[in-house]
Subunit: 141 residues, 2 copies
Amino acid sequence: MRIASRFAIAVHILSLLGTFPEESLTSDWMASSIGVNAVIVRNVIGMLRRAGLVTTQQGAAGAFLARPLQQITVLDVYRAIGMEDDLFTLHQSPNPNCPVGRNIQRALGTVFTKAQQEMEAQLAKTTMAQIVREIKAADKP
Amino acid sequence: MRIASRFAIAVHILSLLGTFPEESLTSDWMASSIGVNAVIVRNVIGMLRRAGLVTTQQGAAGAFLARPLQQITVLDVYRAIGMEDDLFTLHQSPNPNCPVGRNIQRALGTVFTKAQQEMEAQLAKTTMAQIVREIKAADKP
DNA sequence: ACACTTGTAATAGCAACCATTACAAATCAA
DNA sequence: TTGATTTGTAATGGTTGCTATTACAAGTGT
């Protein structure tokens, strides 16, 4: 499974807000930068708003950062998008009458949890400010 | 996205092969320990076979480890199942006329690649032998 | 020969994701 | 105040990926 592209879309949105902080970017405008439907943009912004990362006002153009990009990690965005709590999926009904079946869930859980934690720890190491800095640096060669 | 449960099923299968090394476990038998359809078991075994982790013979019951479980990491299993090359998904068509749109793919790629590598590095730290050891330890309290 | 097993294809059901349309509610400018 | 614009949200449809299930050819072993 695959982590949906709305994670990438969310990072894109925050990058736009950080790159054009003075302007009121409409969802239509952002949609054309991202290359997706404007309703998708509004939905993702809704997730960012519920996570406390941006503020909006119905009817008024624009979304605004609730705190500076230095204080928003990529993990914050990942959690805001709230894909799935568990990256890995356990099989549902192993047989309790089998020694392997009745113990594998715990063994798998240990490994899966650590792997997911490492992935998330890596996401936490990058802030949205670094992303924007990288974008700007790449744009001025 | 979510990593499909056939990853967990694959670990379960190898654990069975390691726990009952002398027996020829049929796909039906394994299916009942795992709690899924026997065809799924045969399909997953096929992936493990193509990855060089087990050997089978059509018509003959059983699957057999191609090398000892100490030499099979959980990452090997993950790769054998070959879910998706990329855990994260980039959005397909950012706008090249926007400074953010034309540079975000690279910035995202950097972060996503590192996160996936950390996750995989963690999976590589555990061998199937450890999994089986943990299962046996949990079963004898 | 006959029962059993593997390997594989085909089909169906289901869930998640994205695109799109539609529209109420709020804002803002004339 | 009126009318255009924008956000927020619901509803629908198409697509994709995963699992369950049936079916059956090909190989094995007694």
